[in-house]
Symmetry: C2
Subunit: 257 residues, 2 copies
């Protein structure tokens, strides 16, 4: 039996509670024994109240302490734990393993997905990136990760940094491009919904082609007259600066500069 205590009550923490609770129904050897939340009420619909604690001193012995709090709070929370030499991991893409207090055996359990508040996530398809200081601890993390996901990776802190930056490009920045497209549509009274199937197809293509093969458009085929027409169409300075920079980046990609 692997006993887990979870610290945190935010989006990710709630998704993990749901997932571990479901897992318990299927005779798993993994058990979520406790969750720490400053505000006990926040989790009252998700968990038996006796499992919710709001004082670190009440933490029971567990095989794995999962810290799912904001990056800024990882150091403080991990230093406040009233025990040593146990397996304590954080769940952040951006924070180093070293941000955890060294009094415990450190590791990382990073689910690489964007979690929304009210949207149920099927963890089976969420890649989980694992790291640990000690190899025996990796075995524990690996068992837990494989119990909830079909996609588990050993990723060290430097690799995780790269992944986190890359995730900003494909998630935050991509969504911002949707936002700019939405602005352009609104300015010209065209429904943004018209673009949804194209957005879906763009994301879908990448499952069968690599990004180089999937690249199309005026920049890629160096269609100067269309590029000029677009540039003169965009009167918003920010939109036009981004258009030029990304067009240039597509055209220079793969070239030695």
């Amino acid at each position: 039996m692997i006993k887990i205590a979870l610290i945190g009550s935010g989006n990710l923490a709630q998704h993990l509670i749901r997932t571990f609770t479901e897992l318990a129904l299927s005779n798993s050897n993994i058990e979520l024994i406790q969750v720490f939340s400053r505000d006990k009420k926040k989790l009252s619909t998700l968990l038996d109240s006796e499992k919710i604690i709001s004082n670190f001193q009440d933490l029971k012995k567990a095989d794995l302490y999962l810290i799912a709090v904001s990056d800024d709070a990882i150091a403080t929370v991990s230093s406040q734990l009233p025990f040593t030499d146990r397996l304590v991991v954080h769940t952040s893409g951006a924070a180093s393993l070293l941000s955890l207090d060294a009094k415990n055996r450190r590791g990382v359990f990073y689910p690489l997905q964007s979690f929304s508040k009210d949207k149920i996530v099927d963890f089976k398809s969420v890649p989980i990136c694992l790291e640990s200081e000690k190899s025996a601890d990796f075995v524990v993390l690996n068992s837990v990760a494989n119990a909830i996901s079909n996609s588990v990776f050993a990723i060290d802190s430097e690799q995780r940094k790269a992944l986190h930056v890359a995730a900003v490009f494909v998630n935050n920045f991509t969504n911002h491009l949707y936002q700019l497209a939405n602005d352009i549509c609104t300015e010209h009274q065209v429904p943004f919904e018209t673009l949804i199937p194209l957005i879906q197809e763009t994301a879908h293509k990448i499952t069968t082609l690599n990004p180089e093969q999937a690249q199309t458009g005026p920049a890629k085929r160096n269609d100067k007259s269309t590029i000029e027409a677009h540039e003169s169409f965009l009167t918003n300075k920010n939109q036009s600066t981004i258009y030029k920079l990304l067009t240039q980046s597509i055209q220079n990609h793969g070239k030695k500069l």
Copy 2:
């Protein structure tokens, strides 16, 4: 019965041939009577050979001539048609209705999707943007568009220009962000596949939230320490310029500058 003649043999032309051929099997009142292709062999697996012509003089009387050629060729092709006062439309997002020769009744039939060579497209979910000079012609275009798609819009040339630029943002530029993420992963020996579920979720979110609501990440929450960590991690100048510009654009979005 609406008789269609198609001019072109590229990606879009081939997808349209497949779609109209399937439609004919379901007792539709729409018939693809001819396809013009300079190279007859190119379409030999898609169509009866007697329907393929390579000389404009062989074009029969039709209710609708669909020009699916590259933007550059629209003016020339439309001027070479050996008849006048018939309904002739192009299928381009970027070209104006006025790029067609004025000797015929002009219109636009623009399927807003990215068409790949070997990937079957279900036209039912492809938005089709229609425009015509005469309202009687719009009725014909509308019948044809509704026969193949569930999503038909009246979009004038100015609106279509906006849509086309917006499509570059959500398709070409988004795919380029995937490419940059792929580069970052490769440089740091992380499998790009790790990011695929996040890419899918980003595109999926937009079907239930608007881009403003869906925006997350360090730029949105003004998490300066993560932004600085990312900026110092990116040693490639192009990646770092794009990171800074898009971060700034997210932070300034919605503000009066």
